[in-house]
Each structure stands twice: as C-alpha cells, then as structure tokens.
Symmetry: C2
Subunit: 138 residues, 2 copies
C-alpha cells in the first residue's frame, strides 16, 4: 500500500472506473458522461460553473466535456440573463440515453457493492463525501 492518500484515491478511482466502463460498454456512455447526465436529471438546469463546482471539475474542463454531450444531442446549452453564463440542461434524447445506460450502471453498482459488502459500501459514500469537503478546506 502506497503512503500517499492521493495516489491511493486515484488508483481506486481508476480501478472502479474500469469496472463501470466495462459494464457500460456498448450502451453509448462512459461513466463520466453517465454521471453528468445523471446529475442533470436530478438537479435540472444549472450553470456550467455551478455544475463544475458540484462535481469538483474545473469549469474549463467542462467546456470540452460538455461539448461532446452537446454534439451527441444529450444536453442543451443556453445563455441566461447574465450573458456570460451558460445554462446546461438535459434534452429528451439525453434522458432516453441515460435510461438506456441505467441497467448497466446498476449492474456495476451491484457487483461492487456485493463484493465490498454493505457496511464498506456505505462507508465509501460517506468518506468520499467528507474527503471532498476536507480537500476544499485544506
């Protein structure tokens, strides 16, 4: 086990991403795209900046990540009252795509949960949440 918390987190994220992407393969979405659509489905329209803040993704990263989703027709981008702001929302096609990928995502969740065990699965959700908050304060 490496002594670096960041290295360990990144390694876990890679391993789990590989699991989820394997399950999602063929559904049309990668786990990053799935996550963004799932967030938009729950939250509704919001600005690029707030979306990035909520996901701890740099807003400049989202410019290009969202461009992919927009080209695929899964999200719509409009300009609000403040014309610097880009308001992002999911389209009907985006919702259909999300639903198409949903079973594969659930399978990935279930597979990891079963092997990890319920207590650790819960602990993982709690701990990742706390880690995000801590990293922001630090």
């Amino acid at each position: 086990m490496l002594p670096c918390a960041c290295a360990n987190l990144r390694r876990a994220a890679r391993a789990v991403t590989q699991l989820y992407d394997r399950e999602l393969r063929g559904t049309g979405l990668g786990v990053t795209q799935f996550t963004l659509l799932q967030a938009l489905a729950r939250i509704g329209e919001l600005s690029q900046g707030r979306l990035g803040n909520g996901m701890s993704i740099d807003s400049t990263t989202l410019t290009r990540t969202l461009a992919t989703l927009r080209k695929a027709g899964w999200i719509a981008v409009r300009t609000g009252g403040d014309r610097r702001v880009r308001l992002i929302s999911m389209t009907a096609a985006g919702r259909r795509q999300l639903e198409r990928s949903y079973p594969a995502w659930e399978r990935a969740q279930e597979r990891l949960r079963r092997i990890l065990g319920d207590p650790r699965w819960e602990a993982l959700g709690d701990l990742t949440h706390r880690v995000v908050r801590s990293a922001r304060e630090a």
Copy 2:
C-alpha cells in the same frame, strides 16, 4: 451526494488531486509523476506491465506517461532477457527530483490529514485498498 460510487470516488480523486498538485506546483512534478517515482524508489526495477498492474494503470497508458519521465531523465528503460519486456528504474536525477518534491507532498498529506482527522485518514487508506481489490474481483 450522488448515488454512484464511481462518481463519488472520481470526484474525491479530483478534489484531492487538485490539493496535491497545488502544493506540488513549482517543484517540477505533478502528483501522478510523483507517485510513479515514489513507487519506483520503493520497489526498484520492474517491468512496465507489473508497474501498471500495481497501480491499476493500463499498461498502454504507461507507454506515454513513462515517455514523459524518460524524456525528463528521471527514469531509465532497458530490455531484459525477454525482449518484449521494458524494465523501468529510477535514475539518480529521478531520485533528486523526488527528494526536491518531497516536502511539498508531505505538506499536502499533512493538510489533508489534519482536516480529515486521523481515524478517517486511516480508514481512507484501508478502504481505497479494499476497493481496488474488490473492483478487480467484480
């Protein structure tokens, strides 16, 4: 909090990576490179495949990540008895660079550890390790 374990892990990894990279800025290494050098310092020479396996990094990803380190002169690559294999080791320059970046890395570790608290810090090390193993089995 998102319902997706993968999304939560990736978000935590991004947030923590941003913290560590902020601290490492100006030392010449990003956290990925620091991690690879630190691993090589501990383990010594090993093949690209084994390195990738230990870090849960696809071996084909390492081809280009390691190329950067080699160009910088921090690692050496040689061919062993099996001529398909690339054996990776750290150079003296690599060790000096690692030592130069070490204090910044320790600061990042300490900042996160202090805010997260020791019990959760320990739990994070344990849990990320278990998650990697679970994701591989799953």
